[in-house]
Amino acid sequence: MSKSILIICRSAPYSSSSARDALDMALAGAVFEQPVSLLLLDDAVLQLLPGQRSSAIQAKNPNAMLGALPMYDIEHIYTSLGSLALHGLQADSLEPAPTVLDAEELRHFIARHEVVLTL
């Protein structure tokens, strides 16, 4: 039995444990061989800013782990045009580079998944 699971994270990398918790959920989904998508909306797009030196605040950088997701068969990290616009970011300056959904694609993307988990 299998279900498509969408994980929506909306938090900046160090504001709380949310970014890392979303990653852990995505990895758990992959380990249990479920098709998992990770959608970073709003502040969560800030997880993809390059050059994070989080040792300054004794925190782990979720960015490094986001880059490792393809090893777990999570090939794409999604975000929306609106989230990029919120902070004036360009997809090609982010690491790992996200797959960007426009408004119409975003709506259909959500509707394509059977389970949506937000955090």
Binding site: D43, G82, A103, L106, R107, E114, V115, V116, T118
Partner: protein, 93 residues
């Protein structure tokens, strides 16, 4: 069809706008917790422009002293019903 569950106050515009931008025709938006403040007269015009049906959670609305007026509400069992009528739920907070 998707049930969108919005628990954030109108002071959190970013959450509202992200929720709003994912609504499709046929979806339902359920306002719970501080989301019921969207039913204050000040905020109603924005609700009226949404492409989704809007409902309030009764207990949360009553607790916060918000008038129902022309809007629709459901009790907790109606919340469960809405989950069943829709294929999935997305929580916005």
């Amino acid at each position: 069809m998707t049930l969108h569950i919005l628990g954030a106050s109108p002071s959190d515009r970013t959450t509202f706008e992200s929720c709003r931008d994912t609504l499709m025709d046929g979806d339902t938006l359920l306002l719970i917790e501080d989301g019921v403040y969207w039913a204050l007269p000040q905020h109603r015009p924005e609700l009226a422009r949404l492409p989704a049906r809007v409902k309030l959670l009764k207990a949360d609305r009553e607790a916060r002293g918000v008038e129902l007026e022309a809007l629709a509400e459901v009790d907790d069992s109606g919340f469960v019903e809405l989950c069943l009528e829709n294929e999935r739920s997305v929580s916005w907070f």
